[in-house]
C-alpha cells in the first residue's frame, strides 16, 4: 500500500488547484447571482431572486438559450453523422491505413481554434472561396449572403471543430468491440448489416454517448464561433454572458445565467452518466 505522505503529496496539489481556481470563483458567482446592480453601476449586496426572475421573464434570454440548444443539438447530430461512419471505417475497414487516417483526424486539433474559425470566415464570406467558386461555375450570379453571419455558419464551423471530439470516443469504443463477436454474429447467420445493428452499434453506444456529450456541451458554451461567423442572428447564450460581464456591466445577471447553464450541463452529464452505466451493465 502507499504511504500517507505519498497519498498527500499526489492529492493535495490538484485539490488546492481546483478549490482555488474553480470552487472559489464558482462560489463568488453563486453570491453575485443573488445581488443586483444600482443605476449608478455599483453592485448592491441585497440578497434577492430578481436575476433569476428576469431570466425567465425576458423573452430574449430564453430565445437565445433555446437557439443555443438548437445549435448544440444540430452540431451534435452532424458530428455524430460524420464521426461515427469515419470511426467505423477506421476501426473495421482501414487495415494498414488506419494509423495514417487516425493522424489525419487528429492533426486539425493542433491548429488553433481561432485559425479554424477564421478559415471558415474566408470560405463563407460574400467575397469568400465558396461564393467565388459558385459564381465561377455560374451556379449563382451574386454572392450568397446567408453563408456567413448566420446560425448555419455557426453550426458548420462548430461541427468542423468538434467532430474530432465526437470521433475519438466512438473510435475508442469501436476498437474495444471484440472482433470474435462480429465473427460469432456472422457465424450464427446474421448478415453484415444485421451484425452492425445488433452487435456493433449496441456495444459502441457508450462511445456515441460520450461523443455526443462532448459536442453538445462544448457547443453550448461556445462564444467564439458566434462572434466570428454568427452575426446578429447567430448570437448564443455565452455571448450574452460575455457582454453582461463586459460592456453591459451586469455581473449579477451574468452570474445567474452562468449558473443556470452550469446546472443544465451538470444534469445532462449526470443523465448521460446514468444512461451509460445502464448500457454497459446490461
Amino acid at each position: 500500500m502507499y504511504s500517507r505522505a505519498y497519498k498527500s503529496a499526489v492529492t493535495i496539489p490538484p485539490l488546492l488547484w481546483i478549490s482555488t481556481f474553480l470552487l472559489v470563483p464558482y462560489s463568488l458567482l453563486f453570491c453575485y447571482s443573488f445581488w443586483s446592480v444600482s443605476p449608478q453601476q455599483t453592485i448592491i449586496h441585497n440578497w434577492n431572486l430578481q436575476n433569476y426572475l428576469q431570466l425567465v421573464r425576458n423573452p430574449i434570454h430564453l430565445s437565445v438559450l433555446f437557439r443555443s440548444m438548437r445549435i448544440a443539438g444540430a452540431v451534435t447530430l452532424f458530428a455524430l453523422l460524420l464521426g461515427y461512419p469515419l470511426a467505423y471505417f477506421l476501426s473495421f475497414h482501414a487495415a494498414k491505413r488506419k494509423d495514417l487516417l487516425y493522424q489525419l483526424v487528429i492533426i486539425p486539433l493542433w491548429a488553433s481554434y481561432l485559425v479554424r474559425g477564421y478559415a471558415w470566415k474566408t470560405i463563407l464570406g460574400s467575397d469568400g472561396v465558396l461564393n467565388g467558386l459558385l459564381q465561377y461555375l455560374h451556379i449563382t450570379r451574386h454572392p450568397v449572403e446567408f453563408f456567413l453571419y448566420s446560425p448555419f455558419a455557426v453550426v458548420l464551423t462548430l461541427t468542423h471543430i468538434y467532430t474530432p471530439f465526437t470521433f475519438l470516443p466512438i473510435y475508442a469504443s469501436l476498437e474495444h468491440v471484440p472482433r470474435n463477436l462480429v465473427e460469432a454474429s456472422h457465424d450464427l447467420g446474421a448478415s453484415p448489416w444485421s451484425t452492425f445493428r445488433r452487435v456493433i452499434l449496441p456495444l459502441s453506444l457508450p462511445g456515441v454517448l460520450a461523443g455526443a456529450t462532448f459536442a453538445f456541451v462544448l457547443t453550448l458554451g461556445d462564444f467564439l464561433a458566434p462572434l466570428l461567423v454568427g452575426g446578429a442572428s447567430g448570437i448564443m447564450i455565452s455571448n450574452i454572458v460575455v457582454s453582461l460581464f463586459g460592456a453591459a456591466y451586469n455581473w449579477p445577471l451574468g452570474a445567474a445565467i452562468s449558473l443556470c447553464m452550469l446546472l443544465l450541463v451538470l444534469s445532462l452529464l449526470f443523465a448521460t452518466e446514468r444512461l451509460e452505466r445502464k448500457l454497459t451493465l446490461s
Partner: protein
C-alpha cells in the same frame, strides 16, 4: 500426401462423406499456412484436428467457417460448395475458444440470436431456446448476463447457442482449453455424450493429444500445414505413420536401427523385422517394455528382444512408474511398467519385435 487430382473431376468421395476438404491451400502473405490439405468427414463423425500451435489447425477451422478465404482448393458440404458463400449463409456453426458470447444480451437472447437471424417463426423460438438450454443444463440461467457465468457455464451457453441452429457441421475451436483440468475432463465426457445424442458432425480443434484420443472417432494430425496422418485414435497410437506422430501422440522411444537379413540392430538390442531398407527408425512405446526375472541365456528367439539395462532414474506415477534405462551403446530408453517398488542397478527387460513399429522419419534424414 494425397495424389494430385484433376480440377474438373470431382474428388472420389466416400458415400457417407458430409464435409469434404479438397486440396486446401492458405497463405498469410507469403507464408504458407496450409499446403494442400484434403480430408473427408463422415456424417455424424467426431473428427479432431490435432496439432501444435502454428500447425494451421485453427486456420483450417476458420476456412470452413468462412472467416478466412481460401488461396486454393475447395470445401464442400454434401453437394454444396461452401467456400464461395459468405459465413452467414453457411450451414455450419462455431464454438469459439473464448466463447464469444454477446455481453449485451442475456443467456436466452444469446441462444436465440441465430434463430432471429434465420427468421425462424417468433412462436417457435422460445421452445427451441428452452430445449437447447435444457440440453446443456443451463435453463435456470436464461435471464443472466454472460458476465455473471463461470467459464464452464459460458462454455455450455456457447454450445447451446451453436447447436440450437441445428448446423450440419459443428466447429469447435479449442473449446475446453480455458477450463481447469477437472472441469475439462467432465466437459469432455459431456461433450462426447452430447455429440452422440444430437448426432451432429463435430470438427474439433485441439492441441491436447489426450483430449483428442478421448473424444474422437478419428484424429487428423496437422504439422506445419501438412496432414501428417488421419486415423482412428487406436490406429494413430498403435501404427503411427511417422516419428513425429509417434512422439506427438503419447510418449515413445525412437530407435534408429541397422537392418540386415530381417534383423534390426540398435546397440545391444536386436529383433526381427519385415523391413528391407538398411536404415530404419522404429517407435517403441514405453509400456511395451517389460521387466523380466533374470534367466539363463535362452535359445535365440528374435521375436522377443531381451536386454540388460541400468536404471538411471525412476519416477513414481501411481499405478505405473516411468524408468529411464541405459542399455549401453544405444540411446536411453523410457519404460513404463506397473509399479515394481524401488529398483536400482541392472535388470533384464524385453519387448516384442512386433511392438517396434517402423516409422517414416524425414526430420533426421
Amino acid at each position: 500426401m494425397t495424389a494430385p487430382m484433376a480440377k474438373s473431376v470431382a474428388a472420389p468421395v466416400r458415400t457417407d462423406s458430409l464435409l469434404s476438404i479438397r486440396e486446401v491451400v492458405k497463405r498469410f502473405g507469403t507464408r504458407p499456412v496450409l499446403r494442400s490439405i484434403s480430408l473427408e468427414v463422415a456424417s455424424g463423425e467426431f473428427l479432431t484436428i490435432l496439432g501444435e500451435s502454428g500447425s494451421g489447425k485453427t486456420t483450417l477451422l476458420r476456412l470452413i467457417a468462412g472467416f478466412e478465404q481460401l488461396d486454393g482448393g475447395e470445401i464442400w458440404i454434401s453437394d454444396e460448395r461452401l467456400d464461395q458463400i459468405p459465413p452467414h449463409r453457411r450451414a455450419v456453426n462455431t464454438v469459439f475458444q473464448s466463447y464469444a458470447l454477446f455481453p449485451h444480451l442475456n443467456v436466452f437472447d444469446n441462444v436465440a440470436y441465430g434463430l432471429h437471424a434465420k427468421n425462424i417463426a417468433k412462436t417457435e423460438i422460445p421452445n427451441r431456446v428452452a430445449q437447447a438450454l435444457d440440453m446443456v443444463k443451463m435453463s435456470e440461467y436464461a435471464k443472466s448476463p454472460p458476465a455473471r457465468l463461470s467459464g464452464g457455464q459460458q462454455q455450455r451457453v456457447a454450445l447451446a447457442r451453436a447447436l440450437v441452429n441445428r448446423p450440419r457441421v459443428l466447429l469447435l475451436d479449442e473449446p475446453l482449453s480455458a477450463l481447469d483440468a477437472n472441469l475439462r475432463r467432465q466437459m469432455q465426457i459431456e461433450l462426447k455424450a452430447l455429440q452422440r445424442e444430437v448426432g451432429i458432425t463435430f470438427v474439433f480443434v485441439t492441441h491436447d493429444q489426450e483430449e483428442a484420443m478421448a473424444l474422437s472417432d478419428r484424429i487428423a494430425l496437422l504439422r506445419s500445414g501438412f496432414l501428417e496422418q488421419i486415423a482412428e485414435p487406436r490406429e494413430i497410437y498403435g501404427q503411427p505413420a511417422s516419428a513425429y506422430v509417434a512422439q506427438f501422440i503419447g510418449q515413445t522411444n525412437l530407435l534408429r536401427a541397422d537392418v540386415q537379413d530381417g534383423l534390426a540392430r540398435a546397440g545391444p538390442l536386436r529383433w526381427r523385422t519385415a523391413e528391407t531398407s538398411k536404415d530404419v527408425v522404429f517407435s517403441l512405446r514405453p509400456e511395451c517394455i517389460r521387466l523380466v526375472a533374470p534367466a539363463p541365456p535362452q535359445p535365440i528367439d528374435d521375436s522377443i528382444a531381451r536386454f540388460r539395462a541400468r536404471i538411471l532414474n525412476q519416477t513414481f506415477g501411481g499405478a505405473m512408474d516411468t524408468l529411464e534405462l541405459d542399455c549401453g551403446r544405444a540411446p536411453l530408453l523410457r519404460a513404463r511398467i506397473a509399479s515394481p517398488g524401488t529398483l536400482s542397478g541392472e535388470h533384464e527387460f524385453e519387448f516384442r519385435a512386433s511392438d517396434a513399429i517402423p516409422v517414416r522419419d524425414e526430420d533426421s534424414a
